[in-house]
């Protein structure tokens, strides 16, 4: 069963603004998640530079032995990436849905300050509905 392990959202300067763990064993503490987020931000940038052809938008999918990492970068540089079981399908679709929720429930919320960690409960509510809706089993570990 396809499963999401965790979801990260980082702002355009690489700061982690949202981290949700869906039951991957050994939940990462905040410092590590921050480090991972900024590391990924720089990896993403370097991979653009190394591109052999013009117009590279950075890493979209990283395949590792025990997980896949799908990343979606919005035009303004906000990156959404989700860590899931290898071979999970329609993760790009899920990231697009999450991006839509972000534009709806975070950017349109007057009490959200840009580039700051996300504290909008409507975003959380809709996010959990979206992840359930995609029949993506959450590892209830």
């Amino acid at each position: 069963m396809a499963a999401i392990y965790s979801l990260y959202i980082i702002n355009k300067s690489g700061g982690l603004i949202f981290y949700k763990d869906y039951g991957s064993s050994g939940r990462m503490d905040t410092n590590d998640s921050l480090r991972v987020a900024s590391l990924w931000h720089s990896m993403h940038a370097i991979s653009q530079q190394l591109s052999p052809t013009v117009g590279c938008l950075g890493i979209e999918l990283l395949e590792a032995d025990t997980f896949d990492l799908h990343c979606f970068q919005s035009l303004t540089g906000t990156k959404f990436f989700v860590v899931c079981e290898p071979g999970t399908q329609h993760m790009e679709g899920l990231l697009k849905v999450i991006y839509e929720l972000y534009t709806d429930y975070v950017l349109k919320n007057p009490f959200y300050e840009m580039e700051m960690p996300i504290r909008c409960e409507l975003f959380d509510i809709n996010l959990s509905q979206a992840t359930q809706k995609d029949r993506v089993a959450l590892l209830g570990r």
Partner: protein, 241 residues
């Protein structure tokens, strides 16, 4: 987003070398980041000079490795970031894809099993240094899983480089034989990768060229020392064909 030459729909498969802008390059690094080999078959864009490019690539791979080890969701003990991983320890990534290229990566701690026999007499230290190498293939983003091809290239590497007595470990690879067989192999891979799935009625010309190429590969394989062929599992050969 059809960004580059329609590799799937164009009737005649693009000749691997001169075809549009789907890049095809290969790096081989050793443990301390020295670039043993950089082969470039098709690279339309050169952003950095060679030296920086290699350093940046190795840096990218090094931190990506520690990142994946850190993010491994299945293992409980999380080493802290940045600590160099011993080869084979912790989970490591095997490829990443961007919209313009796909990078397939292989680290060869697992290459120990069939060299033991050859390196017995050379002593452990020597073998260790040679054996650990990273091979990176950069191809068209839509290419499939290249782990098998990387293994095959690694075998070529072991055959032509490691066993070449005049080769000093850690130095950039100069072996001619290795380069030629590598070129042949890569040409065959890229040919295969871009080959449109032969739908039943595929035109005859394609079939003929295809079989010709097949024969040349087999001839090349036979010419190489027997041990290489013996070690290749039937699955590998099938995969190549």
């Amino acid at each position: 987003m059809q960004f580059f030459g329609g590799s799937d729909i164009s009737p005649s498969p693009p000749a691997p070398t001169a075809s549009g802008n789907n890049a095809h390059m290969m790096y081989v690094f050793n443990r301390n980041g020295v670039c043993l080999l950089y082969r470039e078959w098709n690279r339309p864009l050169h952003t950095l000079n060679a030296q920086q490019d290699h350093k940046l690539m190795f840096g990218l791979l090094f931190s990506l490795k520690s990142l994946t080890a850190k993010m491994d969701p299945t293992s409980m003990d999380k080493g802290n970031l940045g600590v160099p991983q011993l080869p084979g320890q912790g989970c490591s990534f095997h490829s990443f894809r961007t919209n313009t290229y796909k990078l397939s990566f292989m680290e060869t701690p697992s290459g120990i099993k069939f060299e033991i026999m050859q390196f017995q007499f050379l002593g452990r230290g020597f073998g260790e240094n040679i054996r650990f190498v990273q091979i990176i293939l950069i191809t068209h983003p839509k290419t499939g899983d290249l782990r098998e091809s990387l293994k095959y290239i690694y075998n070529l590497y072991v055959e032509y480089v490691v066993k070449n007595p005049i080769y000093t470990p850690g130095a950039p690879i100069r072996c001619e034989l290795f380069n030629t067989s590598l070129d042949q192999y890569v040409r065959s891979i890229s040919y295969l990768l871009f080959k449109p799935r032969p739908s039943g009625t595929g035109d005859l010309v394609l079939q003929k060229a295809y079989s010709l190429m097949l024969i040349s590969i087999i001839k090349a394989l036979i010419s190489v020392s027997k041990s290489v062929v013996k070690n290749l599992g039937s699955r590998d050969i099938l995969n190549i064909i």
